[in-house]
Every structure is written in C-alpha cells, then in structure tokens.
C-alpha cells in the first residue's frame, strides 16, 4: 500500500480506537451489547479473513468454529471450569479441527472447497442439535456465566464490552504481526500462485493447513466470547446463516485487507439495527444495500478506499487474483 494509504489507515485506526473506548460511556446497554457483538464477530471475521483473504482458501465453515468455541466455553464454564481454561481450550480445539478441515483444501479449491466446508457447517449443526447428552440439543445452554478477569467481574455490560474489546485488541495485534511476518507473505504467495510459491521452497501444504487452523481457532475464540455475551446458546445460531454472514463481513469489508473484517462486521452488525426505523423493511433495505455495494465495489469497502487513494492504479482486487489463479 502507498504511503498515503498507510497514513490514512493510521488516522482512521486511531480515530476508531478513540470512538471504541469512548462509545460505551455515551451508550445505553443496548448500544453496548451491539458493540460487544461487533467485537466478537470481528474476531471471527479476522480469522476468516486470514483463511480466505490472505491465504485464498474459501471457507464456509467459520460459523461451526464459532459454534464449537461457544459450546466448549458454555459447557465447561457451566460445569464450574474457570473461564480462562475454557477460553484457551476452545481455541485449541478449533485449531485442531481447523487443521483437519484443511486437508480437503489440499485436494480441491474454490467452489468445491466452499461446498465441502458448507457441508461441514451443516454436519456440525446436526451434531450440536442431536447430541442432547452433551449440548442439551435444541433447548440450548442457558445461564452461561460471565468471567471474572483477575478479580475484575465482567458481569456488567460495559465491563464485558471492554473485555471483548481487550481480546479483540490482542487478536488484532497478533494478526497484524502474523500477516507482516514471513508467514503472512507465504500465505499471500499461496493465494496468488501456489505453484511458484512451492518452487521457491514455500511448503504450500503446511501453510494451507496452517491458514485453516489459525483462522478456525480465531473463530473458536469468538465463540468463547459469544457464549458469555448472549449467556444462552442454541444450535441454530451457528448454522449456515452465520457462515454466510461472516463471509459477507469479509468480502464487504474488503477481503485480504487487514481492516476489512472490522468494517465488514460493522456493516453486518450495526447496519440492520440502524435501518430498524424502517420497521418491516429493514432487512429488505439491508439486502439491497449489500447488493448495490457489491455492484459498485466488488473488492469491498477498503478495496474502494484503496482505489480512491491511488486512482492511477487500475482496479486489481485481491479477489480477482485469488479466484483467477488455477489453484491446486
């Protein structure tokens, strides 16, 4: 990205942080709840953005990792486990499952991969719904406690919001480091030209699995926060709908752009609420807006921003690249 782009991104980032910290003091619990939901969804979307945006592996399974994470946290904490343990176990579990889900990606790409992961999401939903002995089935798990962090109780909405924001900050920093490390470079190489990457010693196989594993574990973290945020979980919340929604966040925000998920989650979580004054029409209008947005900036909001910042460069969106590549 150009220096101009960087500076603008910097300014926006700082402004956003200021708003995020100040906001809860001006908001009622409802607004704070929405912001917390935004933070949680952003974490999940950041994970998907790594898998899809940077490494170019389409996944419609992110919802099931949010689900696995949420259920791990809910089941353990309602059985008296400390939240921290549940939190990291959720991430670890998703890391492992994500790694396994990566194997199909070594055989197939693009829409085929999309459908394998889509199938996975639905299978996980069926298990969550039907294995009542473990998940309480369709009844869901209620009264999920909110954690106390080093003696600081996050029971109150604002406290829990800051807890989510804290996790988001840590995750963002880690991701920032990751995509800027040689790994991030290798992921992008994987996305843009796996064959060339391999001829340069990039172990495409391992990086593909890694992209799935890390992306999924972030989904798990998001889930582990979702459970105590809503304090009730049931299987339908983690069905295909959420996966598509997370995909929407990544694409709308700008796939392969670091700040894409933040923006995408903003659109997906806040825009519908914002449109509620239109009563019954809010979802219709929301859908229409998404379509228009995609028509006018297929590379997502940040893709548009980038284009506006340097009009010289013709549109060469990350997506076009990742999709035109022959793949495995």
């Amino acid at each position: 990205m150009s220096a101009l782009g960087n500076s603008v991104r910097g300014i926006v980032a700082v402004a956003a942080c200021a708003v995020l910290i100040a906001a809860p003091f001006g908001l009622k619990p409802y607004g704070i709840y929405l912001l917390s939901m935004w933070a949680v969804m952003t974490i999940a979307a950041i994970g998907l953005n790594l898998t899809l945006g940077y490494a170019g592996q389409i996944s419609l399974a992110q919802a099931s990792f949010v689900g696995i994470g949420a259920y791990t946290a809910a089941i353990l904490t309602t059985h008296g486990w400390p939240f921290a343990a549940a939190f990291f176990l959720a991430a670890a579990l998703c890391l492992a499952v994500g790694w396994l889900l990566g194997y199909p990606a070594l055989r197939v790409q693009h829409h085929y991969l999309a459908f394998v992961t889509l199938a996975f999401t639905t299978l996980v939903f069926l298990v969550l719904r039907n294995e009542e002995w473990l998940t309480k089935g369709i009844y869901g798990i209620s009264n999920i406690p909110r954690p106390a962090v080093f003696g600081w109780s996050t029971q109150a909405p604002r406290d829990f919001y800051f807890f989510c924001l804290g996790v988001l900050a840590v995750v963002s920093f880690a991701m920032w480091r990751l995509v800027r490390s040689p790994w991030g470079r290798a992921f992008m190489a994987l996305r843009e030209n796996p064959m060339r990457a391999s001829s340069l010693g990039v172990d495409t196989r391992r990086y593909t699995l890694m992209a799935f594993a890390i992306g999924s574990s972030l989904g798990g973290l998001a889930g582990a926060l979702y459970a105590p945020l809503v304090q009730f979980i049931e299987p339908t919340a983690f069905a295909l709908g959420l996966s598509l929604n997370l995909l929407l966040m990544v694409i709308v925000g700008g796939s392969g752009f670091f700040f894409g998920p933040f923006l995408g989650a903003l659109v997906s979580v806040l825009l519908p609420e914002w449109l509620r004054f239109t009563e019954g029409f809010y979802l219709i209008i929301y859908a229409a807006m998404v379509m228009v947005l995609m028509v006018y900036c297929p590379a997502g909001l940040l893709g548009l921003a980038e284009r506006l910042l340097k009009p010289a460069a013709e549109d060469r969106s990350v997506l076009t690249q990742s999709d035109k590549d022959p793949g495995a």
């Binding site: 389409i58 693009h110 394998v116 929301y286 998404v290 995609m294 297929p298 969106s317």
Partner: protein
Amino acid sequence: MTDLIQLLVAGLATGAIYALVAVGFTLLWQTSQTINFAQGEFVMVPAFFVLAAMKFGGLSFPVAILVGIAASVLILGAVFKRLLVDPMIRHGVLPLVISTIALALFLKEGVKEFYGAEAQSFPALWTTTHVTIAGAVVSLQNLVIIGVAVVTIAVLQWFLGRTRTGRCMQATAQNPALARILGIRVERMILYTFLINAALVALASLLISPIYLAKFSNGETLGIVAFIAAIVGGFNQVRGAIVGGLLLGVIDNLVAAYLSTQYRGAIPLFLLIAVILFRPQGLLGRAEERSV
C-alpha cells in the same frame, strides 16, 4: 416391499424437483461461473407471481400461470443477469456469491412483507387422485412431477446437444474465448442460460407449490439441496443433475426410514464430501472437464 416402493416413488418425486432446480444451477455455473445462492428463492418466487396475478390482476389460473412464467423469465432471468451478474462477473466468484446471498434475503423478506408470512395454498394443476402400484399407494402428483422433470431435462439435453443454439451454448460454456473467436455471440448465449434457468425454476415452482404450498421460506432448504444434487451428479453435466437429484431424494427417504430421522440430513452431506474429494467431476461428469 410395498414400503420400499412407496419410499422410492416419493423419493423420486422429491428428487425430480431437486433435479429441475439443480439443472439450472449447473447451467449458470457452466456459462458464467455464477454460484446462485438465491436459487432456492428463485423457486419460491414464481408461485407468488402467479398468486399475485390472480389476486391483484384478477386473472384466471391458467392466464396467471403464463404471466407468472413470463415474469420469472424476465425478472429472475434477464433482470437478474443485467443488474447483478454482469457488473460482477469480472471480479471473481465471491462478490457474486455475496450478492446472491443478499438477493435471497431480499426476495424472502420482500415476499413476506408484501404477501404475508402465512403459507398460501396453491391450486393444483391436476386432481390429487392416488394410484396403486404393486401395493404401494402413489399420488398422481408424484408421478406427474417425475414425468415432467424427466421430459424437461431430456428436452434440454436434446436442445443443448442437437440444436445449433444449444451447441453454441455448450461451446460458450467450455471455452468462451474460443467460442468468441468462432463468431458465437457469447453474451447472448449466456443470457439464454439465464432465461432457461428462470423458466426451469418457474416450472419447478408450479410443480411443487400445490404440495409445498407457497411460502416465503420455501427456498431455504431447496437451494442447498439443489447445489448438492448438482455437484453429486456432476457439476459440468446436465444429465448429472437429474441423477444427483433423484439419488438425493431417494437416499433421504431411505435414511429416514431405516437409519435415523434425526440425521436424515447428514448422509447427503457425506455423499457430497466423498464425491468432491474422490470424484470431483461428479458421478456422471467427465474427468477432463473437472474445473478443480
């Protein structure tokens, strides 16, 4: 034994519907790499065109049907391509996937707002009498559906394989660049596939609505099942779609009856994964066409 026949016929009937929806999906994919996540809603909408034509237009059922089909072909075919597909086609699959997801929501909510959430009963095209085959009671409806689907797809096969336009469309699907060089009007051919898809979903809509009833949420499961059918049968194969569709319909019933009702949805998914991983060209697909 009678049970088995019962299950098979019912399964085939449901499967025939999946097939009709899957074929259109396959066509769109072949010619324009469009993965239409609104395909299910496309089946839900035409029924409401017909109902609206009767309710607000005061038309008789047969006329309303024609109006409905025309409206579908125009809106779900031409307009859909113009407004959504064309602007995004250059930008790869994903933006289009997102907008069709949004379109699905748009259609669902639209129908719900303007026609109501209630399931609407839809006049049947024929009497709902039952016939007995080898002890199994089978509704005429089911047989008609199977018949119509098979005939339609046979005709489509013939059209694509034997007529000039059809062959041009196939050429377009297999190698647009070359087709263009050969002087085929690629754009028009792509448009045709969208119109055909719209006609097919309209047909499916008319066939199922008397049984499924017209309801805004009807598309939700249908679309996904159609995808699965298309891929299982062979993504690059019109013929494959009907095999995939029928197979899924039957499997669903057999699983529900003999294995588990709670996991009836799981088996097709395992089938899907297995096919993609070990035979990505689909059961009927030809290996060299696999676009992996």
